[in-house]
Symmetry: C2
Subunit: 213 residues, 2 copies
DNA sequence: TAGATTGTTAATCGATTAACAATC
DNA sequence: TAGATTGTTAATCGATTAACAATC
């Protein structure tokens, strides 16, 4: 029988893989060679079958019944499934507190993200550098985006400016937007908006406290 | 018939409400009095029935058939459902780039969150202030947590320190954790961990680019 | 009244969990 | 071989969407 093409990995599963990866990297550091789905499941408090399905989706027939999966093989397979081996250039718009924090963070390399430049409306910031990236006026966005072949836009402007910034990014040819503003962004079909919904997180924390506290 | 107690609001729905709120606030600013579910749905690209169910869950029989919902009433109801009217004190651990950004951000007030103090392992930071909050050594955590009756812990330390910090926070009596490290945290049943899974967001962006780009 | 929209019950869809044969 | 675990098919569960009567 002909095997199906790469079985689709669900959105939810993608959310779990970073935690698998962290756990597997620790096992690898302690020189553990094999790991089983039940072992991962109990450590991460997930259902054993769910883990097995997740692993099967990225690492076909790597598991040995009665033994488990080779740790390093799993690590490689998960990294590939999460596209951590790809390189994507990004522009960041909004060099406020959060924008600066993201610019300064050195760890995005591990996830395949490279922020190449930043933009802000405040003229006093123009020309200055944060985390080695220069801050430009918004007027330069279009030029830099196409010149550097950028595909990701990161929006860290205040909520009321997000929509306009998004349109500018899309017009410049960007294909994916990482949005930190709690604003719905309308984009053409070929563009993906990934929202970082901190307001929802805070609501869930608050809800828990209201119920348990 | 006796009406059921407050119908449960799903996790997913809670993620949508902040976007409703933003949209409704804009309508309110432009003095619009009524809004209908189809109107919200088309603006936010959601299914009309989903919006209606969401609104019904927080704002029982506020809607008038043929007309819609009063905007201000909806705003109030959503804020209450998201517990934005409650006040919760939080401690932040890890005054690196992201920690500093969160400490400096003034908008958490709107969500009912008040960060009262920060902690870091680096002695050179001790005693300094960021966003009006003093940074203390970790040894002070337990004392300050109970003295100020803090219920939320925010973890912005590197991944390998997250687990230990979490244990310390839980031991100090905290009831909810907002975790920015890509690490699974094991906590007692009465404690909620809310993960901000940026690694998953990046994977989804990268996946989209690999498929469309 | 006619038109639009609400609110609810039923159908569908996707993801999680259960059950179990295959295999190292 | 016996024990543990894999990998897959079936059952369950929760959320989304469809259908439709009620009502302003």
């Amino acid at each position: 029988m002909i095997p199906k093409g790469s079985s689709e990995i669900s959105r939810q599963a993608i959310g779990r893989f970073p935690y698998y990866l962290k756990f597997l990297n620790e096992l690898n550091l302690s020189r553990q060679e094999y790991v089983s789905a039940p072992m991962i499941a109990s450590s991460l408090q997930l259902h054993e079958v769910q883990v097995r399905k997740d692993l099967a989706a990225v690492s076909r027939r790597a598991g040995k019944p009665g033994v488990g999966f080779p740790v390093t093989r799993l690590i490689d397979d998960i990294k590939r499934a999460l596209h951590y081996d790809s390189r994507n250039r990004a522009l960041l718009v909004g060099a406020g507190h959060l924008g600066k924090a993201l610019l300064s963070y050195g760890g995005f390399d591990d996830y395949g993200l490279e922020i190449v430049a930043a933009f802000d409306a405040d003229p006093s910031l123009h020309g200055s550098e944060i985390g080695g990236k220069t801050i430009f006026p918004l007027e330069k966005l279009d030029e830099l985006s196409s010149r550097l072949n950028v595909r990701i836009g990161i929006i860290t402007v205040p909520s009321n400016a997000a929509e306009e910034v998004c349109e500018r990014l899309v017009a410049s040819g960007i294909l994916a937007v990482w949005n930190f503003a709690p604003t719905y962004l309308s984009v053409p079909e070929h563009v993906l908006v990934q929202n970082e919904n901190m307001a929802a997180s805070l609501a869930l924390l608050s809800k828990h406290l209201a119920e348990k506290g």
